[in-house]
Subunit: 345 residues, 3 copies
Amino acid sequence: MTVGEIAELLHGRVIGNTQATIRGLAKIEEAGPEDLTFVANPKYAKYLEESHAGVVLISPALIPSDRTVIVVDDPYLCFVRLLEIFYPAVREVEIGVHASAVVDATAVLGEQVAIGAHCVIESGARVGAGSVLFPHTFVGCDAVIGEACTIHSHVSLRRGVRLGNRVVIQNGAVIGSDGFGFAAEMDKFRKIPQVGIVVIEDDVEIGANTTIDRATIGQTLIRSGTKIDNLCQIAHNVTIGRHCVIAAQTGIAGSTSIGDHCQLGGQVGMVGHLKIGDGVMFGAQSGVSNNVASGSIVSGSPSRPIAMWRRIEASLNRLPDLLKRVREIEKQLDNQSARVDEKKP
Amino acid sequence: MTVGEIAELLHGRVIGNTQATIRGLAKIEEAGPEDLTFVANPKYAKYLEESHAGVVLISPALIPSDRTVIVVDDPYLCFVRLLEIFYPAVREVEIGVHASAVVDATAVLGEQVAIGAHCVIESGARVGAGSVLFPHTFVGCDAVIGEACTIHSHVSLRRGVRLGNRVVIQNGAVIGSDGFGFAAEMDKFRKIPQVGIVVIEDDVEIGANTTIDRATIGQTLIRSGTKIDNLCQIAHNVTIGRHCVIAAQTGIAGSTSIGDHCQLGGQVGMVGHLKIGDGVMFGAQSGVSNNVASGSIVSGSPSRPIAMWRRIEASLNRLPDLLKRVREIEKQLDNQSARVDEKKP
Amino acid sequence: MTVGEIAELLHGRVIGNTQATIRGLAKIEEAGPEDLTFVANPKYAKYLEESHAGVVLISPALIPSDRTVIVVDDPYLCFVRLLEIFYPAVREVEIGVHASAVVDATAVLGEQVAIGAHCVIESGARVGAGSVLFPHTFVGCDAVIGEACTIHSHVSLRRGVRLGNRVVIQNGAVIGSDGFGFAAEMDKFRKIPQVGIVVIEDDVEIGANTTIDRATIGQTLIRSGTKIDNLCQIAHNVTIGRHCVIAAQTGIAGSTSIGDHCQLGGQVGMVGHLKIGDGVMFGAQSGVSNNVASGSIVSGSPSRPIAMWRRIEASLNRLPDLLKRVREIEKQLDNQSARVDEKKP
């Protein structure tokens, strides 16, 4: 495509050579003369001068003087749209049921489903129209997968689990494992039956090898639009609201409830039975053991409001020195009293 | 069942309507007029008034005046027993060997085993009577599974691993992966053969996607009754005692030995070669790099006795202010000496 | 073998009985009279007296007076070589393609490959000579596996992923899952197509259930000789240099670049877009949010140079007491000013 054609597609304005040919997309550091790239963050504007990119998507505020650009309002979103166009989704699993898949006679498959090699779909399970199951997917009894879902290889969806539409589950994730519930009985532990389910609403994405436990009773719930990264642990009876973003290796203990539009950094840990409001942001590695009100920003372990946490962190660098200073003060005061004592008759 | 029938089953005493019909079990917040619920923790007694539950299991100490209750000594354990009765375990894998499973001719299967679709059982492996292997289980050469075990889908049990009886392994767990051992040789690393095994004793439960490495030589050992949650890492040659509880995402490095009846919160990390006594409790996100004596309670990273850790945490909130106060003191003392100097002739 | 034969093999010098028979290798605490063991670390020399080992590999500096030893320059490396000899690698997967494996007609298999039961190899994929795929391996379209690789059960190698030679991947690892990239669009998130790949160079080892995301564009890169433990998360567009060692449950966020010969303790977290130099060492549970220069040793969360971190940690134990001391000083100064005020006319 030419720069001019791309600009038309994006309703953008070209400054420079509209006839230049573009064959690929690349990050600004790696882009060559036939690549398009973008600068959305003023922080990366410094790369503009050195970049070999053929053309740069750029916002009106950042126009440089000396190279071909396409000026658009949101260069990042435009770049995402071009990614979708330049790299259209490839069909990796053929429509139909692979001969090696084991599908129970009572399972119900929608139109145009693609069931890969060695998948297992148990009795009473349902797969909605257009959904794709990569090889080695396990779908337990009575589990329900909505329409247009993508389930990658080695995923386990256990008995009774329910997925909405357009849900994406990365490889090896486990949905519906038993909650970690044991009752102390004498000096042993007795397993508490975990008879609830997991409900995952529309447009959720779950990362690779993430685990989401079924509820003891009732349901573990991930509401629509939420994105969960790799290797996260969501315990039994947790509720996560709409359009949250949860980074990798985060763990949320049993029965905690998180509001809408929350963002959790990587390796965050939350104890059980908490209530987290809407729009809360958690720094990476936060350790959360108290309820958090809507709109808060917290960090640290144990977590604190971010301003407080920053003040403490900055103070810590001065703590070893502070010990010395206080010792010095004490000496000085001791000397004073000694002098006072001397003066006494 | 009626309230009266349930009370008889639990050897409990009804106060209120013995004829009320109960159709399900629920958490106190969600229970309706035909549900039974329980209150074991005085903390949750506040929910009693608002609950719509048909009947509440309750301890003698918590009897409320105005609703139908069944008074029992341990409401929680009674509730667990009712869960078992109301939701009896469902057979999800049929007895026998699924046609698509690949079982080596030298493997030995006990009576009434259930081997799911696409399982692979290698040469010399043994599966004890009554054990259930969900689809996609891999059982390596010479691995031994005891009686009445439940192995969920996508579990890997590698060569020579040994499980006792009534062991439960959640989906995707890996038992017997190579220990992480490399010897520095020049500026490279040479893999140290990991020729030991993993031994898991009776009544252990292992969480989803948890990994337990085989020993370099000898064995990695999980003793009877211990419960390990999802996404934990147990390194080579670790020993974990009896009836421990280890919450999710905890990692224990090589050759560390943990006593009986220990409890580890989520995301705990322990370095290698430690000796941890019996009955030790670790707060979530603890970082443990020293031996810990029996009966201790520790928290923090690096971990400290809990009383010390709490004092430090409380003090930290006052640290930024402390810096100011010390600066103030120093000024005051400077002024004093200045005044003293002035007075000098 | 006799002690004399082993000494000859290792070019070592026997002190004691060269005719003693050795049947196995063991750790020093567990070795019996027919076992060989080793002491490499002076810290473990204390076990020498009590050990029942038939013979001990030992360095010239540590020779004890009263037992049979083989004196060698590097007892640890010699022990590793004996492990390789006493426990030669066993072939667990037969050469050839198992009848239950599903291999696309366009896939290319090298000589002497071993493809286990229920493996799935998609179109255009290639497996190099001598590589072993354990059961349930998934190899996506156009993925490339080099020569002499070992891929354990339940591994997913997604579309376009490239492995070098002699790569070892432990069970359940996921290579090439989608990077965690979403663009905010109104109050929702739109998935950014992840069209890049993962490149893993020669002699890398990847731990069980570790996840390595494909690049958004370009590649996520693990350079030769690097070893990554279990349950680690490597995000999109990360680069890890040569001969690094990364312990379990560590997470590295998007686009961060790590140099050669770095060592990361367990449960380390790094934010995205960092530049880490060569030869950097990170303490366990470090939280890294800034670039780190070559040769640094850092620890803590947030991470600091290790000397600084140790001083702060030591100071923290004295912080609660420091608060009291400062209060005491303030009182004393208040009393002084009170006295001064009294004296004033």
